[in-house]
């Protein structure tokens, strides 16, 4: 396509604006990364800065020295993310499969049962009471996994749509004429043919688990069960406490040993790093996922 001069100007303008927007989106991350490498006294004296006077690795040394707390939190986060995503994906796709089969008597009924959960909910209080009073998930690992398991019906409908639109019924019928059972058809044919949507939904689920802090806020009070996000939150509320001015009297000399601001920023960096590994995959599947998702349930 040949560009006129006006068009070329516009293209250049677009590139410049997009560059600036991207920088704007990126700067806050840069600030905390730099802060995590800044010397604590510099941080207190000069504030957060993109060009700190003195750099230091102290924050990361501190993390290394009390590694067990961070390793435990990382462990909880990874365990919950992996378990939640694996179980969630399995149950989601198992439910989506019968829904996608237009020759299955109840496929519309199932779709409605899932869809209605997206329209109306009993609210947080009944859920909270149910999980705590009847299922006793408080202060267990299940508290971090169960309430988010199928998060909402959206993912199920997304997978259903993919199954329906991308795997022709003829393939399934052919397999079953050859004697494959439903289970076999599902695991040996449907799932292998649906890897793109599994990757997309798995990514959504994994991110949601990795970034979750609300379940622990409601259901967990034991620090041993804190994932990386909740550990960060705990450190945050300590900052608030210090800023409120009461800390001086209460903590006295102990306040010196509290983790520094730079440590909190280093923690935030460590919380983001796993997400960065997902980003390239995100890039690859996101557009597709968003578009599939936009198709009506």
């Amino acid at each position: 396509m040949i560009q006129t001069r006006g068009e070329r100007t516009f293209t250049v303008f677009s590139a410049v604006v997009m560059f600036l927007l991207t920088v704007f989106a990126f700067l806050p991350f840069l600030l905390i990364v730099i802060a995590s490498f800044t010397n604590e006294t510099t941080l207190i004296r000069n504030g957060y800065s993109f060009f700190p006077e003195h750099l230091s690795l102290d924050a990361y040394r501190y993390i290394k020295s009390s590694a067990y707390i961070f390793i435990r939190a990382y462990g909880v986060s990874f365990l919950v993310t992996i378990l939640g995503t694996a179980i969630g994906l399995l149950i989601t796709s198992m439910l989506a499969y019968p829904m996608s089969r237009s020759d299955f008597k109840y496929h519309n009924l199932l779709a409605f049962v899932v869809f209605f959960t997206m329209l109306f909910s009993g609210g947080i209080v009944p859920s909270y009471i149910m999980w705590t009073q009847y299922f006793h998930i408080k202060n267990t690992l299940w508290a971090l996994i169960l309430p988010n398991l199928l998060a909402n019906g959206f993912n199920v409908l997304l997978v259903r749509n993919y199954f329906k639109n991308n795997v022709p019924l003829e393939i399934i019928e052919a397999a079953q004429i050859d004697g494959a059972s439903e289970l076999r058809t599902f695991f040996r044919i449907m799932l292998p043919l649906s890897m793109p949507v599994m990757a997309t939904v798995g990514m959504f689920m994994g991110l949601a688990y990795w970034n979750d802090w609300i379940n622990a806020l409601y259901f967990v009070s034991k620090p041993q069960l804190y994932g990386i996000q909740n550990l960060l939150m705990q450190l945050m509320s300590n900052i608030q406490f210090l800023n409120s001015g009461q800390a001086g009297n209460v903590l006295g000399a102990e306040s010196v040993s509290l983790p520094s601001t730079a440590v909190r920023m280093a923690m935030a960096v460590l919380g983001i790093v796993p997400v960065l590994f997902v980003l390239p995959f995100m890039q690859k599947y996101l557009t597709r996922g968003v578009i599939i998702g936009a198709v009506k349930g």
């Binding site: 677009s14 806050p28 149950i91 439910l95 199928l150 970034n211 960060l232 995100m282 349930g297």
Partner: protein, 307 residues
């Protein structure tokens, strides 16, 4: 589909029902049981007597709730924030999508897109730390490196409610606009290039092409997406309004939404009845909104209706 004799229906449906079983059971427990729990809003909950044994008090929880100023504030905040998010979010997302589609270098557009969706992938806890790095009173970037050098009096951000409507809107747009632009970007990519070619032959410049071709063709997508978000206008992102202002009491007048109120009433004030009443209020209005919006979408563009 080939017509088959309807013999052995159970043998055919049973395996499929078994596959659906775990998921159905989960929705039953996690979504449907709590729906029946809405009666809690009409009870004076007393754990000693148990949920079922607690006394019925009719609409008293609601009467109390709507007599407080909280009810008005949280409703107003929820609605106004969502309106601002929808209006500005849509505009910024469309602008990003249009500019992005102009870039001829695929590597650049991929790079920019990656950078722009990154904010959407971080947790609210990390986001609140980012905001804290900019706004904390003593060493925050804004006070320390912008206001002080300019000689402007420093601001105690976490105790001044009046700034938060602007801050929260800015933060929300920063976090979501890049991600939100993806669907518009995809729609633009789907527009037939020959339409632009012929417009060019007719002498239309780039801006005119955007006004006369891109925007009109995006209109159905825009309308549907805006309507959809209208259906969720009574909901708010709990993390954004709780975590980012750090649940600071001084800010409640401009940061309290229905979601944060429900949490506070349940976990901090221990007022289960009031919390349940606020939750039911939110669910019912939300439900009515979704039905209304769906009816409108059905009129505008039947293909995009939810049901």
């Amino acid at each position: 589909m080939t017509a088959k004799p309807k013999s052995k229906p159970l043998k055919k449906t049973l395996p499929l029902l078994i596959l659906a079983g775990p998921g159905l059971l989960y929705f039953l427990i996690n979504s449907y049981f709590p729906m029946f729990g809405v009666f809690i809003a009409f009870k004076d909950v007393n754990y000693a007597k148990g949920i079922f044994g607690s006394d019925w008090i009719g609409f008293k929880n609601f009467t109390f709730l709507f007599q407080t100023s909280d009810a008005w504030i949280m409703t107003r905040n929820t609605l106004l924030y969502n309106l601002a998010f929808i209006a500005l979010g849509t505009i910024v997302s469309i602008i990003i999508a249009i500019l992005m589609s102009e870039l001829l270098n695929k590597l650049y557009s991929k790079l920019f897109m990656t950078g722009l969706i990154l904010p959407n992938l971080i947790s609210m806890v990390v986001l609140s730390l980012l905001v804290f790095a900019f706004l904390n009173a003593d060493s925050g970037f804004v006070n320390h490196s912008i206001l002080r050098p300019l000689g402007i009096p420093e601001i105690n951000w976490y105790s001044e409610a009046k700034y938060w409507p602007y801050l929260l809107v800015l933060i929300q747009i920063w976090k979501t606009a890049g991600y939100g632009s993806i669907i518009y970007f995809a729609s633009i990519a789907g527009i037939d290039k020959s339409i632009y070619e012929s417009a060019k032959i007719d002498g239309a410049g780039k801006l005119k092409q955007i006004r006369m071709i891109t925007l009109p063709l995006l209109k159905p997508t825009i309308i549907v997406l805006v309507l959809m978000s209208m259906g969720r206008i009574f909901n708010s992102d709990f993390g954004l309004f709780y975590q980012v202002p750090m649940n600071s009491g001084a800010l409640y007048s401009t940061t309290q939404t229905i979601d944060t109120y429900v949490y506070r009433a349940l976990m901090q004030l221990n007022d289960i009845g009031m919390s349940a009443a606020a939750g039911l209020y939110q669910s019912l209005v939300g439900f009515a909104l979704v039905l209304t919006v769906n009816a409108i979408v059905k009129k505008v563009n039947p293909e995009n209706a939810l049901f």
